[in-house]
């Protein structure tokens, strides 16, 4: 990954050293886990963290040779080390890495918010408005229809019609989600600049907010379909409103505070970001606010209401070498291959419908909005990935409807897995083919500049 620093072309010697180091890293943990097979979660977490960091980085570097994005390398390293293949990382270790994942998500959301600049949003407002409206209105409907059509091949075949409609509606929401983490990881790697990059960042970040609201609305609407006694409750909407407003307000305060800190003191940014990431993620979880939204707003506030945006981005991008690797390697390790085998075909079909739908709608909305040719051709490329938000909403839905939780989570995770494998490759392909890859480095040297200034 570049993370604000230009990556030099790698020689054969470098590749050999990386391959040898990767073998050593795998061998060290393999020997340790075979000698001591007992599950010791805390100890395993430390070794697992170090291993995923190294193995993820090295695999991604080696996958560069094939032109694949780094994200794919992180996921592959996690997948190979995970419980289903070499079992170097066990389930308890993955559980122990949850706080690190929460921190990663916080930093990713902060970076995402800091990439959004009002001027940039205004300049591509037409494209974003059309895409947001069409993608979030039509994709859930398409996914809903596909789900109903394929229902008899899913574990939900036993459900009555109303419940099935409810599950299909929930599926529609999950299908509308995208992955800011994958987007930012690819951007950090290839340092792109141009209309496709600008549009993708703005759309995906905005989509996050829309999906969180959409999910809460659909959950409230769907509840009576599962439980005939339950009525459409405005309590849920009230709760949603409270959560949204609270998250935005807290995020704005955090952003202003962070901006003031960066301006007045500005030192030890890494430690400050870690403290904020850990403590606020926990606090927000405790008070049931949306952490993603809060950090997104905080980043947005720093970017737009202070002059400290570049500093914040630089600090976050410097943590990227660690944050993205862990986030995606953990995601890779969590991939359940047995699960993929059991619902793989249905999941693949549902992903295909979502993918084709996204491409067609992206092309149509680009046409309606009068976008430049590059956006018309490649605007869809950032819309395939799914990761953190999708998993988060799946968990929320599982909690809200315990009766379908296992089956829904199984199918959802299978689809997310497929999309997180394909999505980054698609986006990198889009950036490479559109000629935007590496443009930021050419424009600015090695410094970090927000997308709007590229």
């Amino acid at each position: 990954m570049s993370h604000g620093e230009a990556a030099a072309p790698k020689s054969i010697t470098t590749r050999i050293v990386q391959a040898a180091a990767l073998i050593v890293v795998f061998a060290v943990l393999l020997i340790a886990t075979r000698l001591v097979p007992e599950k010791q979660s805390v100890v395993g977490t430390v070794a697992g963290l170090g291993f995923l960091l190294l193995a993820g980085t090295l695999t991604s570097e080696l996958m560069e040779i094939a032109g694949l994005p780094h994200v794919s390398g992180y996921i592959l390293a996690g997948l190979v080390a995970g419980p289903d293949v070499l079992s170097l990382i066990d389930d308890s270790t993955l559980g122990g890495l949850a706080p690190v994942n929460a921190l990663a998500l916080a930093l990713i959301a902060l970076a995402g918010g800091a990439e959004l600049e009002i001027g940039m949003l205004r300049s591509s407002a037409r494209s974003i408005a059309w895409s947001t409206a069409l993608q979030h209105a039509i994709i859930p409907i398409i996914a809903f229809g596909a789900f109903l059509l394929l229902a008899r091949f899913t574990p939900f075949a036993r459900l009555d019609t109303m419940s099935l409609v409810g599950v299909a509606l929930l599926w529609g929401v999950i299908s509308a989600t995208r992955s800011p983490a994958a987007l930012l990881a690819i951007i950090a790697q290839v340092r792109p600049a141009g209309p496709l990059t600008t549009f993708s960042v703005a759309f995906v970040m905005l989509s996050d907010v829309v999906c969180v609201i959409l999910a809460a609305l659909v959950i409230a609407f769907v509840r009576p379909l599962f439980d005939p006694v339950a009525a459409l409750s405005f309590e849920d909407l009230k709760h949603l409103g409270f959560e949204m407003v609270g998250s935005v307000a807290l995020g704005a305060c955090l952003g202003m505070g962070l901006g003031a800190y960066l301006k007045l003191i500005g030192r030890n940014r890494l430690v400050v970001l870690l403290a904020i990431g850990f403590s606020l993620s926990e606090l927000l979880r405790y008070i049931q606010f949306d952490a993603l939204l809060s950090f997104l707003v905080a980043g947005f506030a720093v970017r737009n209401f202070t002059d400290q945006g570049p500093k914040l981005l630089e600090a976050i991008e410097r943590t990227g070498a660690v944050v993205f690797v862990i986030f995606f390697a953990v995601a890779g390790a969590k991939v359940d291959l047995g699960l993929l085998r059991s619902v793989g075909i249905v999941a693949l079909a549902l992903c295909a419908v979502r993918g084709v739908g996204s491409v067609v709608i992206a092309k149509y909305s680009s046409k309606v909005a009068g976008d430049p040719p590059v956006l018309r051709k490649w605007g869809w490329s950032s819309l395939v990935s799914q990761a953190g938000l999708s998993i988060g909403l799946t968990v929320v839905i599982g909690r809200a409807f315990p009766g379908i939780a296992t089956e829904f989570t199984t199918l959802s995770l299978a689809c997310i897995t497929i999309n997180q494998l394909i999505g980054p490759i698609a986006f990198k392909l889009g950036l490479d083919r559109s000629g935007e890859s590496g443009q930021a480095v050419h424009q600015e040297g090695a410094t970090v500049t927000p997308l709007s200034q590229r």
Partner: protein, 453 residues
């Protein structure tokens, strides 16, 4: 208290630690190794304020171990070097021999006394002996750096002391590794061919990952990626050692030594690691302070008195040997007491003992480590200053100067000051340590401002 709140508190301490060193605005306050934070930990601990509870500390044991191991990594990376130059082999050997002397002087009487006063088992006596030896052996190099920085000390004795104090760090680490392999802890998994396979495994893991770290560091010019390499190899080393029940602190020390020994970019690696030193050290000291249990007066007090007295004797003897080495006409009388300062290494070793071998003996070892550090830093530093002044290596003006801070210099000002010192009346070939420090400081600050952390 919530673990997240404690973790945030520790991060705040890390922040404070970085500020204290990075900003230098309050340079002049505090003890060389920051032992006052150990006292803070004692007050925050279960005995007094209860911010850290026993349960909470147990829950945070893994963070403590990782912090200690990381400090060991930093020390290992700097081992064999003083002020950027490689130590002569003779001085390294000398430093180790003096540390061994202090270790033996303190450990043997302590074990003998414990044997007569208590009914400790052979295993516990072994832990006590090696533990006492390990926490009493070193003279912390922070004390020397502190006096050099604050009073601009320079001369043959200062350099000799700096070299010897840098060299003696390895002994406690070796003792810990030896003990970890011959006396299994509660979590140790018996490896075939123990105990020596354990020691060999500790060295092998440290060496393998150190070499890997060096190789990757050299081919990776981006600092963000370099952080990932250091963090990844470090955590993997700690995790694997803990899984096998080996000493993570010792393996990380070896890893640090190998990494800097093999890396072509040794200076960059050392500078990168040095920026984390205080940030990790202060929370580790606070946690160590919170872990300290006040043992019952009997038989701890007699053992503690014997250890402290024998350490003074051993260091006094070492001081005489050092004085003779330099053939000083006026051998510095207070040099022996000036070798008393003990710091983070002793504390780290004591804490590692306490966590590996829970029980009364390791509580004694940790308490003795704290005692050595407190006495050493308060008394020892003053005598060290006096010894160097007597040796004529601290000017009267510097010795009497207020230690209160001067204005913080920007990197550009640092560079200008360094240039000015280089072009002053002194011959350029023989730059003073003050010049070297200023240059090093300027380099560090510019790299820090570049790193933004």
């Amino acid at each position: 208290m919530s673990p997240i709140v404690v973790l945030t508190g520790l991060l705040a301490l890390a922040y404070l630690g970085s500020m204290l060193v990075g900003g230098r605005t309050i340079r002049g306050f505090g003890l060389p190794s920051g032992t006052e934070f150990l006292v803070l930990g004692v007050f925050l601990g279960p005995r007094f304020m209860g911010v850290f509870t026993r349960q909470g500390l147990a829950g945070y044991s893994i963070i403590t171990i990782v912090a200690l191991a990381w400090l060991s990594f930093v020390m290992g990376s700097d081992y064999g070097y003083a002020a950027g130059r490689k130590l002569p082999a003779k001085r390294m050997f000398f430093g180790l021999a003096l540390a061994l002397l202090a270790g033996l002087f303190t450990a043997l009487p302590a074990v003998a006394l414990a044997f007569f006063l208590t009914d400790l088992s052979l295993r516990e006596l072994l832990i006590l002996g090696l533990g006492v030896g390990a926490v009493s052996a070193e003279t912390t190099p922070y004390a020397i750096r502190f006096v050099v920085q604050r009073y601009s000390a320079d001369g043959p004795l200062t350099r000799l002391l700096a070299d010897v104090c840098e060299a003696d760090d390895a002994l406690p680490i070796v003792l810990l590794a030896v003990l970890a392999t011959i006396v299994p802890g509660q979590t140790t998994i018996p490896l075939p061919g123990m105990p020596w396979t354990g020691l060999a495994s500790t060295l092998a893991i440290g060496a393998t990952l150190g070499a890997t770290c060096a190789a990757l560091f050299d081919i990776e010019p981006r600092s963000s990626q370099r952080w990932g390499i250091l963090l990844g190899t470090g955590l993997l080393c700690v995790g694997v050692c803990l899984r096998l029940g080996l000493s993570a602190v010792s393996a990380m020390f070896v890893m640090g030594m190998l990494a800097t020994g093999l890396a072509k970019e040794r200076r960059a690696l050392q500078e990168l690691l040095a920026t984390t030193e205080r940030a990790v050290m202060l929370p580790a000291l606070v946690l160590a302070g919170a872990h300290i249990v006040f043992p019952d007066a009997m038989p701890f007090v007699p053992i503690a008195i014997v250890v402290v007295v024998m350490r003074v004797v051993a260091k006094g003897f070492s001081g005489r040997i050092l004085g003779r080495t330099l053939e000083a006409k006026h051998g510095p009388q207070s040099l022996g007491l000036g070798l008393l300062p003990a710091g983070i290494l002793s504390i780290a070793i004591g804490l590692a003992f306490a966590m590996r071998y829970p029980g009364v003996v390791s509580e004694w070892v940790l308490a003795l480590a704290a005692l050595n550090a407190l006495i050493g830093e308060v008394v020892g530093t003053a005598f060290l200053r006096r010894a160097l002044r007597n040796a004529g290596e601290i000017s009267e003006a510097s010795a009497g100067a207020t230690p209160l801070p001067v204005r913080k210099l920007s990197p550009a000002e640092m560079r200008a000051a360094a240039r000015l010192l280089r072009t002053s009346t002194r011959p350029p070939a023989r730059s003073s340590s003050a010049t070297r420090q200023l240059e090093g400081r300027a380099r560090r600050r510019s790299s820090q401002s570049g790193a933004g952390t």
